[in-house]
């Protein structure tokens, strides 16, 4: 799900690291795409049905969803046409540590399911639509479909042992690819040198994408990598809870002031900020033990019933088993960000091959029920684009180094910030209309 509020914090505090560039500026680059994120986006966005009916997912004759196939197919062709070489990275098993977050998501699903039922009964189409989007899930079948499609198209696919963002970031770090393409901001926490966002191309004519530079982000925030990771944990990541009451601005200030979460915990005002127990499991257990002991004493005084005494005995043994050292969650999260399980470089071979038109046609037309003419023309487009880029075009910046111009950079950053503020205030004046339009970023 990414890091809460990091995109906004970066655009406020380190505007220099974010650049809006045309898609064509990625010409000749290799990009690692977070496949799970992309599939998810398509499952939500690619739907049929007008405003009067509840939008339905695209399906084939058997009723299997094909939205994601449609989306991945077209987007990949677009990539190749632009001279970009994508490699899709799929999520492996979720880190054990994420189970808390996953549990929360499951609860949300259940809630959405109920809401959907209620909406269907009352006939509220808009609500129905909204809730059914919340129910979308990219399962194993969807992933397998896409892998098959991509391999038929000649696009390399990587199965990450763990999280896809971590694997993609590792690829970018080792120079195998140029950037990580995902909406999830935690790609930056995994130290991808460059992250690319907004690769949605909803509008073909205006295809600006957002490029975030990791080094410039650190420079702009004025923190080291370790501090950045701690900052992300405080903002809210997938792996653990946050300290209630600390927002993005405060988090950045505290990190700059104290350096790391341990020191922050020592110094912050406990009245104002609620530190979750999982941050201090040892202390929490001590407290619990003390309370239990107290309770026990009280109970012994009042001489309890037999049954309860029995169950208490059970508690006691558990407690003893747990007596090993407990690690605070933020340290675990830190470890996940810094040494995530990824495939070694040597195990990765990125090869872009020509697509296999016949099996591809069989798959898309016969199995997925796509329109044969459209598929044929798309395949032709893909073949042509592949041929045109078979001798990849080198880029200017691989020969000549970029001249740094700090004075100009600073000037621009200041200007952009001023502009952003002006835009903000004018938006407020307009009564915040349509400020939260349907963007992908907000969906998850």
């Amino acid at each position: 799900m990414g890091i809460k509020g990091l995109a906004k914090l970066l655009s406020d505090e380190a505007p220099d690291c974010i650049r809006e560039v045309p898609l064509s500026s990625l010409h000749g680059r290799k990009i690692a795409v977070d496949a799970s994120m992309a599939i998810y986006q398509f499952l939500i966005a690619v739907r049929s049905g007008g405003p009067n009916a509840a939008a339905m997912m695209l399906t084939n004759a058997d009723g299997d969803t094909t939205s994601h196939i449609q989306g991945i197919f077209n987007r990949t062709i677009r990539f190749i046409t632009e001279g970009i070489r994508p490699v899709y990275v799929f999520d492996g098993k979720p880190p054990q540590f994420k189970s808390g977050e996953l549990l929360k998501r499951r609860e949300k699903r259940l809630k959405a399911e109920e809401a959907l039922k209620a909406a269907a009964e009352s006939g509220d189409i808009e609500e129905q639509d909204k809730q059914s989007k919340r129910l979308v899930r990219a399962g194993t079948k969807e992933n397998e479909d896409c892998k098959r499609l991509l391999s038929l198209m000649g696009i390399p696919v990587i199965n990450a042992p763990c999280e896809a963002e971590a694997q993609a970031a590792a690829l970018a770090r080792s120079g195998k690819v140029y950037a990580t393409a995902t909406e999830d901001m935690d790609a930056l926490t995994f130290r991808t040198p460059i992250q690319v966002r907004k690769m949605t191309f909803a509008n073909a004519s205006k295809s600006d994408i957002q490029q975030i530079n990791y080094d410039k982000a650190l420079l702009g925030l004025g923190v080291s990598h370790d501090q950045f990771v701690d900052l992300c944990i405080l903002l809210g990541c997938d792996y653990c809870e946050t300290i209630r009451g600390i927002g993005p601005k405060t988090a950045l200030r505290l990190i700059k002031e104290h350096g790391n979460i341990e020191t922050i915990l020592k110094h912050i005002n406990r009245e104002k900020y609620v530190v979750p127990e999982s941050y201090e499991p040892m202390e929490a257990r001590e407290r619990e033990k003390a309370e239990n002991r107290k309770k026990k004493e009280e109970e012994q005084d009042t001489d309890d019933e037999e049954e309860e005494g029995g169950s208490r005995k059970g508690d006691d043994t558990e407690e003893k088993e747990e007596d090993e050292e407990l690690i605070p969650v933020y340290i675990e999260a830190r470890r996940l960000f810094n040494s995530h399980e990824v495939l070694p470089d040597s195990a990765i071979d990125l090869k872009w091959k020509e697509c296999q038109p016949e099996p591809l046609k069989t798959f898309l037309v016969d199995e997925m029920g796509f329109n044969p003419e459209r598929v044929a023309s798309s395949i032709e487009k893909l073949q042509k684009a592949f041929k045109a880029t078979s001798k990849p075009q080198a880029r200017m910046d691989s020969f000549f180094a970029v001249k740094s111009n700090p004075e100009l950079d600073a000037k621009r950053a200041a200007k952009r910030k001023a502009e952003a503020e002006a835009a903000k205030s004018s938006k407020k004046g307009a009564g915040k209309k349509g400020g939260t339009g349907g963007g992908f970023n907000k969906k998850r």
Partner: protein, 260 residues
Amino acid sequence: MFEARLTQGKVFKQLIEALKDLVQEANIDCTDDEMSIQAMDNSHVALVAVCLRSGGFDHFRCDRPISLGFNATNMGKILKCAGNDDIITLKAEDEGDSLALVFESPSQDRIADFELKLMDIDSEQLGIPDTEYKCTIQMPSGEFQRIIRDMQVLGDTLAISCTKEGVKFHVEGDLGVGNVLIRQNNTAEKEEDRVLIEMEEPVELTFALRYLNFFTKATSLGPTVILSMSPDVPVVVEYPIGETGHIKYYLAPKIDEDED
């Protein structure tokens, strides 16, 4: 304060024409001894570098270095209003947000002035080192333009190879194959008609014709063009502008995947 007066206004007009198809926006950087432009196309495959030395102007004043960001299409539109014989004067204030262009007819009986709004351009400047190239080819710019035009009919990728025999341009496409061989010719009567080839070792490079075609828009700026090539680095296509400066185009070659 920046002010520059160019009797041959045509040169500036043609310069903008020569880059407006390749780049949308660029900065004119002025210092006290030259006016220069460096810009890349959107996909960062080609780069154009213009230099006009202050000596080439009738009057040149630049109190402190200044960067004037402009939209090439809009600049072109304004320069359309200048006659070919007009004297062009450029003026800009240090902290101003517009560039004044004054066009005077040769007989001084018509004076037009325009203002072009400037913009902040977020572009990366590349440091280009002076390099010795393995092959340098000087040839008539019109001849080069013709070759590019002819080759484009057949395909979109051009191989340029320089050997002892001469320079060979080779294209392959769906409808067939095309070759043009240009031999050394240092006896032509006019100096600009000569073809001079200096070669240390043979070089062969492959390029996208689309970009080379953009480069030939500079043909009107001078009678000769100089191509400089070394293995695996960008080609330089240089059009000298009289004694006063040059426009140089750099184009990254296409590479074989295996070497990658």
